[in-house]
Symmetry: C2
Subunit: 348 residues, 2 copies
């Protein structure tokens, strides 16, 4: 394994020699340049095949200054990356888009801010052409860090900075959290519920805030006792539900800011003898199929197309990296907010 007959990889030089052309011509063929006579192209191609030539990326990067690689930075002090299918799905979308455009995906996981320096160094080191950043908490310094490193960046989720801030032109992709939340609450109203509670996510994340805002858009007068903060885990959803039940035993509906929290809430509801949806209707958020379809009862929820969001992030970044797109107009890249959709199952 360690010493596989040590055959040095063939170089462009070797290919050129074998094809009887200069290195320059060989290079042109390999890179699909125009203006090489057909017979030569053929000879070079053949040499490449026979030798099993694969270009050395380091050498290429050194001169072109392009890596064809982008970093995915996940800032997650907690273990969330690993319990939540959310990231995984997003990464999948990113991976698909990236490989379709012949780019590699370098994954940078951080375990707390101690790792930030390392990430900063890496980004500044020019290893990648751009970065996709997932930093969930509003005070996160990662985006700033990337900007300083001079690396084009797209953020997953709306950044927490206020618009007056230095976020000038920072690109992001997010779903319509606020609109989705409104739809959820309206659905609950439409099936006759009147005492609607909300289990929010951690309020230092914009997604949580936006969903809470959507809730309040529809129910501006809601009793504060009907709002509890969870942490996007089943446990958090469960204890928030318990708290709500204690404060307002008369509630007849709950809108949870995530399916995962909704599943915890469902458990507590069952334990406390409430029937779902008869006594208490429940709506989640995400449409995380592996969760929503398998709760008991299956969850009515707000769908966001997570994989698509990942794809969009990658596409946006790639465009930012290589400004040469259309004919000549510069379409001025902008952030993207994707639509959500109510999915009705049994819980509401």
């Amino acid at each position: 394994m360690s010493d596989p007959s040590f055959a040095p990889r063939p170089t462009l030089e070797a290919v050129a020699a074998r094809a009887g052309v200069s290195r320059a011509t060989a290079s042109r063929v390999v890179n699909g340049s125009e203006g090489v006579r057909a017979p030569l192209v053929e000879r070079v191609r053949q040499a490449v095949d026979e030798l099993g030539y694969v270009p050395n990326q380091a050498a290429r990067t050194l001169v072109t200054r392009r890596n064809d690689a982008i970093a995915v930075v996940v800032a997650e002090p907690e273990t969330r990356f690993f319990t939540d299918p959310f990231f995984a799905q997003q990464v999948r979308g990113i991976s698909k888009e990236l490989t379709a455009r012949d780019n590699q995906l370098v994954l940078l996981l951080t375990e707390g801010t101690a790792d930030y320096e390392r990430v900063g160094r890496y980004l500044a080191g020019g290893h990648v052409d751009g970065a996709l950043i997932f930093s969930l908490h509003t005070d996160d310094s990662l985006p700033t860090l990337a900007r300083r490193a001079g690396v084009p960046t797209v953020i997953g989720g709306r950044p927490g900075w206020t618009d007056s801030d230095s976020d000038h032109g920072t690109l992001y992709v997010d779903c319509d959290n606020r609109g989705g939340a409104r739809d959820a609450v309206r659905h609950l109203l439409s099936i006759g519920r009147r005492t609607i509670a909300h289990i929010a996510g951690p309020l230092d994340q914009t997604a949580s805030v936006d969903r809470l805002d959507g809730f309040r858009d529809v129910l501006p007068e809601t009793d504060p006792a009907l709002i509890a903060e969870g942490d996007f885990t089943p446990e958090g959803g469960a204890s928030a539900m318990a708290e709500l039940l204690r404060r307002r035993p008369d509630l007849d509906a709950v809108f949870a800011a995530s399916d995962v929290m909704a599943s915890g809430a469902l458990r507590v509801l069952r334990t406390s003898g409430r029937r779902v949806p008869e006594d208490v209707a429940v709506v989640g958020f995400d449409d995380m199929v592996s969760v929503a379809e398998w709760t008991d009862p299956p969850l009515t929820t707000i769908r966001q197309d997570i994989e698509e969001m990942g794809r969009l992030m990658a596409r946006l970044l790639l465009r930012a990296v290589a400004p040469s797109a259309g004919p000549q107009s510069v379409p001025a890249l902008s952030s993207i907010v994707t639509p959500t959709q109510l999915v009705v199952r049994a819980s509401a």
Copy 2:
């Protein structure tokens, strides 16, 4: 974002000039080489700081032939990578170990064998120093591909090839699936169960086969009707359970080859009016906390330390990549099988 004042990164040359030394000396300081006089070291350090110098990795790789990057290849035609916390946890372990040793993690996701050619090219292109491969199905060609590319490789999980095959010296890390399965079944026996069923995983994966073998080690005479094949999803676990109930309504225990399948089984059991563990005792496998602790009732299961396995994989690979380890003895790297442990909760 696209054009950030275009400040060209400083080169080693610039650092050397500023410190009034040669490029070679600057290089030595940057790479922590011994034998540079203290005052010079200091001057170079200062120049590095003032200029914000970061070494260009491409240039470095070109000459050292090291990338300080390893690829994690996940061969998963199905969507399993994204529904199963298993990989995620393993990736986390890998990431930790890698960053601790200043290596980067390049993630290569494949969506079916069409992508294999791309992966092969990438590996052969010398972008990475080694590869960690997760290929679940016994007929998978990825490991072969990596070997042909001449890239040191460690496989996650025991490969499916028989030993007579070309697997000579292929390294892998796996947990003691067979032993763990034996423990599960023995536990069931110890609490008085006599009609024990097994929900196996897909039998084209060695983990599934090994667990089934462990089951049979303890219960060699088991009625074949007591064994059903699932697919490591909750749905698969559910339908396997339904099938088992149909075939042997008298069963009083089930050992499922994964917690996720066990959760599906639990649902069916509840639906069919069986109490757990009173009527039917259930044991899972994995100790996927996010699953096992949150089923109703919480799952008794066999724990494997997934994150640790990831870490071990990375460590093993890194050692294979850089054979210069201890004094001079070559400890002959070998595969690793980690122990499992019975975790008793409420379901059995």
